[in-house]
Amino acid sequence: MSMPTMKLLRTAALGGVLALGLSACGETSQVPVYKDGKYSGKADTRPWESAEFKGDKAAWEAALKNRARGQNEYNRGD
């Protein structure tokens, strides 16, 4: 996508949101939809797409689970 087009699209999207906001008192949907590398139009990658995990979601979830264990000292005995 060329830069000017992207800019145009974004401006349009923002305009749309603003219009919506005025009409519906800001009650936008809060269900996250991740599409084309964006959340609600904001470019962000998902955590498992980082250099560390390279898209391996299962590995990322395992890492997080392991990390969570550190918060529970009962894991190290009663």
Partner: protein, 967 residues
Amino acid sequence: MLTKKSSAATGSARRLRGSAARALGQTMDRRAFLKRSGLGVGAGAIATQLPYNLIGAAEAAAPGVSRGEGKADVRRTVCTHCSVGCATDAIVRNGVWVHQEPVFDSPINLGAHCAKGASLREHGHGEHRLKYPMKLVDGKYQKISWEQALNEVGDRLLKIREESGPDAVYWIGSSKHSNEQAYLLRKFVSFWGTNNCDHQARICHSTTVAGVANTWGYGAMTNSYNDMQFSKAALYIGSNAAEAHPVSMLHMLHAKENGCKMIVVDPRFTRTAAKADQYVRIRSGTDIPFIWGMLYHIFKNGWEDQKYIDDRVFGLEKVKEEIMTWTPERVQEVTGIPEEQVFKVAQTLAMNRPSTVVWCMGQTQHTVGNANVRAMCILQLVLGNVGVSGGGTNIFRGHDNVQGATDVGPNPDSLPGYYGLAAGSWKHWCRVWGVDYEWVKSRYASEALMTKSGITVSRWIDGVTENKELIDQPSNLRAVVYWGHAPNSQTRGAEMVEAMKQLDTLVVIDPYPSATASMAAMVRKDGVYLLPACTQFETTGSATASNRSIQWREKVIEPLFESKPDHTIMYAFAKKFGWGDELVKNIKLEKDAQGWDEPNIEDILREINRGTWTIGYSGQSPERLKLHMQNMHTFDVKTLKAAGGPCDGEYFGLPWPCYGNPEMKHPGTPNLYDTSKHVMDGGGNFRANFGVEKDGVSLLAAEGSASKGADLQMGYPEFDHTLLKKLGWWDELTDAEKAEAEGKNWKTDLSGGIIRVAMKNHGCHPFGNARARALVWNFPDPVPLHREPIYSPRPDLVAKYPTHDDKAKFWRLPTLYKSLQEKVKDISRDYPLIMTSGRLVEYEGGGEETRSNPWLAELQQEMFAEVNPKDANDAGFRNGDYIWVESPTKAKLKVRAQVTQRVAPGTVFLPFHFSGWWQGQDMLKYYPEGAAPIVRGEAVNTATTYGYDPVTMMQETKTTLCRVSKA
């Protein structure tokens, strides 16, 4: 991308700032400099070659941290802010400490940190550090070179030594030194020729060390933070662990979750009290009546452990006589605590065994400190709680290595390992050091001064100002070296500046200029030197946590700015003084990046191992300690014992005593005096250190009360060559061991053979098996007695419970008790409120280091005093007002009033970590430029009064008097 006006402006503003900064040459950040110069070496090395203005103010503000470039190294270190010993992983990139990660594997802290521990990485910024040597010239600090500093300081000290003798210089060492540095400093001071050295332990737990060691053998925490998970009840008296040892609360709250009853006794409703099941408010300084009050109920109800007492305790009958005079009415009259509360606490401890006790400065820092702690020991002995997992006396030490510095560091009354100062002790250490005893003796002014305890840090000011005729040494003190110690932790600050004024030379060796620099510059024009030492994150070495576990720190970063490790500075001065070679006879020297000679830390530890048999610092070789640091996950959190792995069967950090040489593989001792375990599994019994009988009564333990599996199942004396021969065990020594052990005892046999045969072959304890002494006959009050503080709020009770008689020569100084108490008996008419002090979680010790850390400083921005609403209303001020707190010394502190019910009417609490204000004035201008701490405030000890423990010279900080008024 959509850029808005505002963000564009921000961007250009940032660029503008950057170029302006470059033009001014002010804000070159060290990381940027490194990147640009393309040098891959340690940042500190480069920084030291830069003029200061290039590594100045903007350093801490350097935007972000370069995360993606360069290889990240993980260095495991241990927090330097308290004695819990929390491990942390430092992530280092291009020599810069970029990141701090929790060490979940640590059995001590399981990744947890308090505010101080979670902000350790700020040490890698160090913006407010003392950056290079400085000298006071005409009232202002000026930069000088290290060469000039070493020469000028060295020459001045040598001149004083020449004119007034070696005892005219006072060396204040540090509990923040590693074991190796603390040990080297004691050796250093000995070669200088004096016992005039001390460190924070004097004003922290000296009364504990003396009182507890004289009761049962070793003056240390008997169990561990971890072991408290086994406790069914815990009594905190004079400890605010939630602020002073926050991570210890992880173990306590875990225990509480599993049914442990937690009790807090304190004049103040602390954050620890907020977590307790029972809180009891006590009048400051009346611990003994409260403890006797509990024991009264224990004896009345037959809750004592009679078998334990019969088998393992000496002299309790005499103590019981005193206890039974403390009727509930009398207890209430003195302590203010009603009978039902005292009963409830006693009952809880008795009915929920094993029960433990915790104490800190609230017990120790009193004119009755040694008696307080002995009363606590007696309580635990009566309940049969000592030498028991879940019981014990859990004495929480203060600084990260105050235990280690007490064990092997600069103490005025002992050589490393509590060997004392007798000629035999000197000969033992001279053999270890590889120097001639006669030479060391020649360094001292006389043999008498060589074997006489030095002045204590709590009294150095009197060593300067006291009448020369009344001092028990040839000269007054003329120079003081503050080597890693704050001045505002000592009492009588108002008199301290007078002492500072009178000195010939004052030297500060510290990562921060400390309050010493500003106090000195306030009253002097010259004769003050500041030398930058680096922190423990910029060097390596071991530290002993409160539970006696020893942990190894890896070096995280190179020393910042021009700072040097303390041991490197010690060697530099030793060279200057002419005995560099003697200091490092067994220690390799290595060149650092700037070509300085650095004594090898591991070699120093090996020398400690070779000499410190008494307390079992002999088995913890650097290799064993490092193995523990790498295999933390294999240790059990409750028992600290490794199950499997390379450290199988050992206890984490080889908690001392770890007897014998490293090859004997003693596992360390998790709980002292525990007869349920074999001595080779960390078991033990009470120490035979006071003879075998007293007044016809045996001091040895009863038949059948020895440690598990011991060949001698009765009480027995300590081991020496004759006992070994009598028992017929002598031939179990090798020929080489025999040659060394002949004529020696277990403490002086450098082969370790006596210990090996006693422990490994026969399961016996080398220090014998004796009774704990409820009656410490060699102390001023063999039975702990209540005595009112010198500045008592109760003149009516002073007559009933007067303090001791004055002492003419006590740690080389005349010391006042009764004469002063009489003089100020009615002073509470003018100063009606109890003034007490304590800690805040955000700061540590004198506080200059932590108040220089913006992440911490932001959380406590002002010195304050807690005052009860009643007293505030009576004095006519409100919450948030500035008030004056004035003590009987006439010193006045200007602080913010925090009006709160945390304190009872009649008590004013002040936190102690502040300095940098002097009786209403900000001392900013007296600090070296750019090196003042961010937060400054009145030091409580500017106003504290006279009063010392009659055994250890511990200062009274917890009970004095004051009055408050609106400022």
